[in-house]
């Protein structure tokens, strides 16, 4: 059995763009006003009347397999936990912001309070106790799913086995760990 590999599956058709995930994240993680660690992008409207459609793609840090933010970090402050969660060690962070420039997903922002980058932590304070990340827990359409991608029995693995999925900007070489099911 391989190591744990935490990731998200997002079922786009279930997202209603309520942005409760953004609010829940900001409350849970005390995100400074004006910033968010996650987002909801909207594509469309597409088609011609009356067959119109809109798609919502929620997202956050992709907790990439080979994260470019970690590769460029000059002090090793950005690191990957054994379960695949990408985190920042603020003891080592010098605030050069190279990681923000290197992230293809704009998943990081400057937290003025610490003078350095900040981003989604996969709510490690919650998942380590077996609870779902705040964004997942609050998602009322059940669009957001999280779990161990290496465990064939997990909900994320089952969803990916049964449905075609895509990832964002695979050409970046980052190996993002958020899978989108249309």
């Amino acid at each position: 059995m391989a190591e744990k590999r935490m990731g998200f599956v997002i079922i786009e058709s279930r997202c209603i763009d309520c942005r409760a995930c953004m609010v829940a994240c900001s409350v849970e993680n005390d995100v400074p006003v004006g910033y968010h660690r996650n987002w909801v992008n909207t594509e469309g409207p597409t088609g011609t009347f009356p067959d119109l459609g809109m798609r919502h793609k929620p997202g956050n840090c992709m907790h990439c397999e080979s994260p470019s933010c970690q590769r460029v970090c000059p002090t090793g402050a950005t690191y990957t936990r054994p379960d695949g969660v990408v985190l920042i060690n603020y003891d080592d962070c010098i605030g050069c912001l190279y990681c923000i420039i290197a992230c293809p997903y704009n998943a990081r922002y400057v937290n003025e309070e610490i003078g350095g980058p900040d981003k989604c932590t996969f709510c490690t304070q919650r998942i380590d106790k077996g609870r779902a990340p705040a964004c997942v827990e609050t998602c009322l359409g059940k669009s957001r799913v999280y779990g161990d991608l290496n465990d064939p029995g997990s909900e994320v693995s089952r969803l990916l086995a049964e449905n075609p999925s895509t990832r964002l900007l695979v050409d970046s070489g980052n190996g993002p760990q958020i899978y989108y099911i249309p």
Partner: protein, 330 residues
Amino acid sequence: MGPETGELWGFLIVAYLFFAGMGAGTLALSALCTLLGPRYRVVSRLGALIAPWPVAFGTGLLIFDLGRPTRFYHLFTTLEWTSPMSVGSWLLSIFLILAMVNLFLWLPEKVQRRVPLPVRGSLTSVSGWRPLAAERAEAWRRRLAPVLIPIALAVGIYTGVLLGATPTRPFWNTALTAELFLFSALSSGAALLIAALWIAGRRGWRPLQHEPMMLLARIDIALIVVEFFLIVPFVLHQALGTESQFESIKLILGGRYTAPFWILVVLFGLGVPLVLEAAEVFQQHHRLRRFGHWLEGYGALAAAILVLMGGVSLRWVFVFAGQVARLLPG
């Protein structure tokens, strides 16, 4: 994709990349002149005395620009091979140490003797150092020069790799970025040396020496020509590359940075100084006095100033345009 992060690296980074490159180029050419022999020793000495300062100043700007500057020493508690910034900060440190040793070797003996006694004393106890007699200093300078050249070139390349090695940023993400920054750094170094020679000549510190001036002008002509041949494939490959690359190069092909790039960088930073320096060398070579002494004197200085301004502009355009351009979804 999250919200746009804006331009996180600004003018301090532009200045840092310029000063570090210029200092590295200066030292590389100064060391080259040392190896070429005593004919060019005025360039060797001027370069040795000047080179560490722009790099030290630029590094200071870099630390000042950090969001958590008091933690900058964490750069030196580790070496992250995959981070150009980590490798670069080690290169800068090695460069600064060697450049300061080199500077010391080039100080006149009577100035060496003025080094404060505690420093001299500890140097003597550690390494048996004493003020170097002229021949011994010369021998050490020639031994150090072949080490200085690669480390200076490495610093010059690194300033470009820092930007180029980011697949996320299509404007930067080409191997030509590092080359362009290196040759621009060497050209800036040549320009700084030309300006320094010119000033030293005018102020009567040293008679203006035509041979070293002409050598620098010839080197700079070659460097500028190389830069042209880097810019052409850079633009072509970006324009004929992926959609992200094509979108990114539009920033200098009709977009926001078109005028700065083509006018400040290419025309006034490369084209005009190339013509001025070529005229200078041509006139010298054919012993023409048709243009009088104006071009001979002020032409060189004008070319040097334009090259330096072009070097700043190149880095300005790259740092800002590169942060606007991103990988396109899909």
